[in-house]
């Protein structure tokens, strides 16, 4: 609950926040300009990403160094735990917005568009799901659940097991097993992403299912897309942790960097289960 020892590590003045803000400056203006087809926007985005990557390396590098130097005690560890938990909670709420949009369309707006009040406007529209909505004529085939998506579910669930095995190995100080299971998790995550990319290609090429395919296309691509983006981040994080393990970082009793990433990985896993049920299955 409160300060046990009275030692709390307060870092020295750091350039990373302002470096990060200048990255965000370029990214914000660059993105707004790119969306409006102003050529300078692409350059600004490029500069922004470059600075952002530099900042991420520098900042996380500092944190990893401080951790290895033993500057973080029990109380700092607890701060990181609270911080990561609330961050994941905020991510959950971000996905809630998109799930909310999906439920609203399926339960409310699409039946409303097909009801008797809209007969004059959309006479032939029926409230079926999947649908592109009453005003989009282009036909598409929805994505089935039991092919690649089911395999992807299997991949992610397995990766949840392997990351836990890695954690056990870390706690028992079995370093080779730790590295092996962690590598397996990274490979499973990367395979998932590869499957997802293949699925998107299949959707566009064979099913005529696009981001512009109305309600179904919007929710399908935005939900799976943001999830895929989070899996990408998670895989990068796991890769970083793998190299840190290879460099001898983390101790059996002190390894929040590892645990934070594992929590994040379980979070993307759980989001996927929601996606599999509500986007693919139902």
């Amino acid at each position: 609950m409160s300060q046990g020892t009275g030692h709390y590590y307060v870092p020295a003045p750091s350039k990373w926040p302002i470096v990060g803000s200048s990255a965000i400056f370029f990214l914000g203006f660059g993105a707004a300009m790119t969306m409006n087809k102003i050529p300078a926007g692409y350059y600004m985005l490029g500069i922004g990403f470059a600075i952002l990557i530099y900042m991420l390396f520098g900042w996380f590098g500092d944190v990893a160094r401080e951790s290895e130097e033993g500057k973080y005690g029990m109380q700092e560890d607890k701060s990181f735990r609270w911080g990561m938990s609330w961050f994941i909670f905020s991510e959950v709420m971000f996905f809630c917005a998109f799930f909310g949009a999906l439920f609203y369309m399926r339960v409310l707006s699409i039946p409303w568009l097909a009801d008797v009040n809209h007969d004059l406007l959309w006479p032939n529209f029926t409230a079926d799901w999947p649908t592109a909505g009453p005003g989009i004529a282009e036909k598409f085939t929805p994505m089935g659940a039991w092919g690649l998506p089911a395999f992807n579910t299997f991949l992610l669930l397995t990766s949840g097991v392997t990351v836990t095995l890695a954690h056990w190995a870390l706690k028992q100080n079995r370093r080779p097993a730790l590295k092996m299971w962690l590598l397996a998790t990274v490979v499973l995550g990367a395979t998932f992403l590869a499957c997802q990319i293949y699925e998107y290609g299949h959707a566009y090429a064979d099913l005529n299912l696009k981001l512009t395919s109305g309600a179904y296309g919007s929710t399908f691509f935005m939900l799976t897309g943001f999830h895929g983006f989070h899996v990408t981040l998670g895989t990068i994080m796991l890769t970083v942790i793998y190299f840190r393990c290879a460099a001898g970082h983390f101790k059996p009793e002190h390894h929040f960097g590892f645990e934070g990433v594992a929590w994040y990985w379980h979070f993307v896993d759980v989001v996927w289960l929601g996606l599999f049920i509500f986007v693919y299955l139902l």
Binding site: M1, A12, I38, G214
Partner: protein, 524 residues
């Protein structure tokens, strides 16, 4: 028992000049920057307000073209909410939460700096959007589609500004929650925390809950605008009303995000100058939590005229009215704290009493707006404008003024100029009411909001309102003068300039040293 600080032992390496502020990890520096940024944005938002009131001074189009007028109202709202009020509260939290819980600094000192330095970027995006082709966003601060699906670069700049502000708020909130939950001095149990800390804990929870939803909302708007999704487009099975649901799921807790810390501030100031402990401390905590929970299930009362099943209207009406109960508990407790106290009326106390008085007016007009048949009449009229300025200006802003006067002696080591500060209060109080009270009548008579021109029968009240607004705006320059004067000198402040104050920050010297509570105090 010293804090492990990297700079210890080689203070000479501490960056000085501008770099001190840019690279700082000190909660007091960051709090100061938040407060100054907030004041700068308050001036920008105030300038826009003056433009709006100047246009509305007389009927007819005088100085602002309708499109620019719409940009002014839109950016006035966004800048005041996200640029002035919220950063001011975060600045106060940065300064005070570590001092009040006996912590050496915020839990994540570097991230704290980043959450501040994101704000100027967002501010720049918003302000510079006035100068791009097509101008700034003009669809109102709530940017409903389909209006916001139109518009050019300015709307996209607004969307990315909101993304950045949201990221800043989420980081700031995580920092505050972690500091409160993990960095309290030994012996300070949750139910011994000062109420300002309690209200900020609950506010920060609300922020982490709803800010990501706003991020999702503007993301959908962005993809609808540029990538052909149809979230808010009925032709594709979506619904513009969906936007309103998502927006107000964020937006209603947001208004409590802007008032709960104000409740906390007033709950610190009133006991101090009544020289009595706060009446009903635990009921205050529970009332704050109840308000926060209720605020998440009332959002559609902003949408009564959109079209909603009667059951929905009834639910949202009753749920909204229910919030009056915990709010009433608070007002009762503040009044009961003052009851038979040995009261004195220093400037912070004046602002707090002004707060209670005027916030209650805003609260009651809120209950009026919650009643469906009445809301259908007053929706989008000046009645609503009057209502939310009574809770946001004489509510949130007055509490911020009170807090600044209350803690200025601790921050600067000097007493502020009492006469001028009291003048600031009285001028603010009078001009505020001149500006906004008449707007109730305008609204009830049917004057719509967000329109640059009006019918002749509204002319007198509009002129009165504009005079009040100009007076209120000018008065704030006096506030700036008082603060600068206090920073530059003045009567030396005692460590505890208010005899009735009880919280931990008053055990420190004035001005508070750069590093405080390196050894945690023990609370009995």
């Amino acid at each position: 028992m010293a804090v492990v600080q990297d700079v210890h032992g080689h203070h000479d390496h501490h960056p000085s000049g501008i770099m001190r502020w840019v690279m700082t990890t000190n909660h007091k520096d960051i709090g100061t920057m938040y407060l100054w940024f907030s004041f700068a944005m308050f001036m920008v938002g105030g300038f826009l307000a003056m433009g709006i009131r100047a246009e509305l001074f007389m009927p007819g189009i005088q100085i602002l073209e309708p499109q620019l007028f719409n940009s002014f109202t839109t950016l006035h709202g966004l800048i005041m909410v996200f640029g002035a009020i919220m950063p001011a509260f975060v600045g106060l939290a940065n300064w005070q939460v570590p001092l009040m819980v006996g912590a050496p600094d915020m839990a994540f000192a570097r991230m704290n700096n980043w959450s501040f330095w994101l704000l100027p970027v967002a501010g720049l995006l918003l302000i510079s959007s006035f100068f791009v082709p097509g101008g700034a966003a003009a669809g109102g601060w709530t940017f409903y589609p389909p209006l916001s699906a139109q518009g050019g670069l300015g709307v996209d700049m607004m969307i990315f500004a909101i993304h950045i502000l949201g990221a800043s708020s989420i980081m700031g909130s995580i920092n505050i929650i972690t500091t409160i939950l993990n960095m309290r001095a030994p012996g300070m149990t949750l139910m011994k925390m000062p109420l300002f800390v309690w209200t900020w804990l609950i506010t920060a929870y609300l922020l982490v809950l709803v800010m990501p939803v706003l991020a999702g909302c503007v993301t959908m708007l962005l993809t609808d605008r540029h990538f052909g999704t149809t979230f808010f487009n009925a032709a594709g099975g979506g619904d513009p009303v969906l936007f309103q649901h998502i927006f107000w799921f964020f937006g209603h807790p947001e208004v409590y995000i802007m008032i709960l810390p104000a409740f906390g501030i007033v709950s610190e100031i009133i006991p101090t100058f009544s020289r009595k402990p706060l009446f009903g401390y635990s009921s205050m905590v529970y009332a704050t939590a109840s308000i926060a929970i209720l605020s998440c299930v009332v959002w559609a009362h902003h949408m009564f005229t959109v079209g909603m099943p009667a059951v929905g209207q009834l639910f949202f009406m009753y749920a909204t009215m229910l919030i009056a109960v915990p709010t009433g508990v608070k007002v009762f407790n503040w009044t009961a704290t003052m009851w038979r106290g040995s009261m004195t009326f220093e400037t912070p106390m004046l602002f707090s009493i002004g707060f209670v008085f005027l916030f209650v007016i805003g609260g009651f007009s809120g209950v009026v707006c919650a009643i469906v048949p009445i809301d259908i009449q007053v929706q989008d009229t000046y009645y609503v404008i009057a209502h939310f300025h009574y809770v946001l200006v004489s509510g949130a802003l007055f509490s911020i003024f009170g807090a600044v006067y209350y803690w200025l002696p601790k921050w600067t080591g000097h007493m502020y100029d009492t006469k001028l500060a009291n003048l600031h209060f009285w001028l603010s109080m009078i001009f505020f009411n001149v500006a906004f009270f008449v707007q109730h009548f305008l609204g009830l008579a049917g004057m719509p909001r967000r329109i640059p021109d009006y019918s002749l029968q509204f002319a007198d009240f509009n002129m009165i309102s504009s005079i009040g607004a100009f007076g209120f705006g000018l008065t704030q320059l006096l506030f700036l003068y008082v603060v600068i004067k206090c920073i530059r000198g003045g009567e030396k402040a005692a460590d505890k300039p208010w005899e009735g104050a009880t919280t931990l920050e008053w055990t420190l010297p004035s001005p508070a040293p750069y590093h405080s509570f390196e050894t945690p105090p023990v609370i009995k």
